[in-house]
Symmetry: C2
Subunit: 99 residues, 2 copies
């Protein structure tokens, strides 16, 4: 329950031009953050598609960059978050099915 993945927030339907308008970032920046693995758009026949969640994430990234945080550090933070989430997922599974 709660996992409505079909939710508007996560559907990758927005083109880079619109994302640029929404975030105030240049297309160059957006593509670069992808290259640095901070963001992961879908590809529909070559052209990138972003979700509203991606847009929010890009705004976070923009804030961090303004504070002087490098893409490398942002990438590390993301990796750490993912690690924590995976651990939490395992613990959930553990206590739900075995605890």
């Amino acid at each position: 329950m709660e996992h409505k993945d079909d939710s508007y927030k996560f559907k990758k339907v927005i083109s880079i031009g619109v994302v640029s308008e929404l975030t105030g970032l240049s297309q160059r920046q957006i593509r670069y953050y992808e290259e640095r693995k901070l963001i992961f758009p879908d590809r529909s026949k070559g052209t990138r598609k972003y979700s509203f969640d991606d847009v929010e994430r890009l705004m976070d990234i923009a804030n961090k960059r303004e504070e002087g945080v490098t893409t490398r550090e942002i990438r590390r933070e993301l990796t750490k978050e993912l690690r924590e989430k995976m651990l939490k997922g395992q613990m959930n599974a553990h206590f739900r099915f075995r605890g």
Copy 2:
């Protein structure tokens, strides 16, 4: 309260190609329904932008068309709904501020 218009559902950010994929309708059909005033995308420099709400609405339209309902009839239904909503809005205002 409740009126979070900034909600993902109503932001017009989706291009016609994606809407076509999402709804299964041809771009021709989508443009035609606009011509018949069943749908109202935004325009950003010429190109149409739709919201998820528009996408849902288009799916409703598609269903009605399959049932043989004409665009004219769908248009009438829409007009009627709008009339009812405006009436309701007036009544709200009436009872809230004067009742």
